[in-house]
Amino acid sequence: MVANPIEQFEIHPIFRIANIAGHEIYFTNSGAYMLAAVVLTAALMLGPTAARRLVPSRMQSVAELSYEFITNMIRSAAGEHGLKFFPLVFSLFMFVLFANIVGLVPYTFSVTSQIVITAALALLVFFTVIIHGFWQHGLHFLKLFAPSGVPILILPMIVIIEILSFFARPISHSVRLFANILAGHITLKLVAGFVVAIGSLGAFGWLAATLPLVFTVALFALELLVAFLQAYVFAILTCIYLNDSLHPSH
């Protein structure tokens, strides 16, 4: 029969860390793969660049390219002032990218398919925008909700809509990443399950099962694209939101 497609998202404890105020704290497989994403990112960024060659080696140019990619993204979406947020945007991008790609390896766990992880990342951005906005601009930050050049009659309505859309941001920001990865993994598992289910029908089944097999390979390619694209979208939306805290009066 087709395997349960939800099973791959279960969190298992690996070992117990501590008991804090009656709560058992475990090191889980989720934590292990988060650690793996961080270690891989650090290995890419620190290892090949340690030599600091003027003519970069292949891996060093990968590290440099990713650095330049994010710099250009911030510059185009949030302007020169946005570059002080480079560490935040770059670590978010690399963490999400590596978590997505590590999760695509068969039998691994996808960290970004858990809403609690993506919500934490999105809320981090949300509160960074609010705190930096008020710290930098004081009450002028509230101009964000009142765009200039709007007739006074419809201004109250615009303000309400702007406030609502501002508070909906962390929801859409986190659910977009989480839902893409979750749905992608479920679809992959379902279609791969068809291969087994149809293949068990005998000689004719073997022939017919090639169709879902080809589809699985195509889906996997799409998922690789989605893994990169969602990390990119997460980072560029972060830049767009940070732009609001840097330049609140449109």
Binding site: S172, A179, N180, A183, L229, Y232, I236
Partner: protein
Amino acid sequence: MEPLAAKYIGAGLACIGMGATAIGVANVFGQFLVGALRNPSAAGGERNTLFLGFALAEAFGIFSLLIALLLLFVL
């Protein structure tokens, strides 16, 4: 009507959203092609915007697929 039947009908209804998303994503790529064929020299610079638009439009289809999957497997 049995609750299980309602669940499956709900999952089917949620998939209508994916059809609407197909229109949206096709619109993104179609409009890009229209613009790119008129001014091919400017097309390369807008490829990032194209993929951003694709991912933003696609996300809503994924949301409705998520609802369908939740109804089928979780709730």
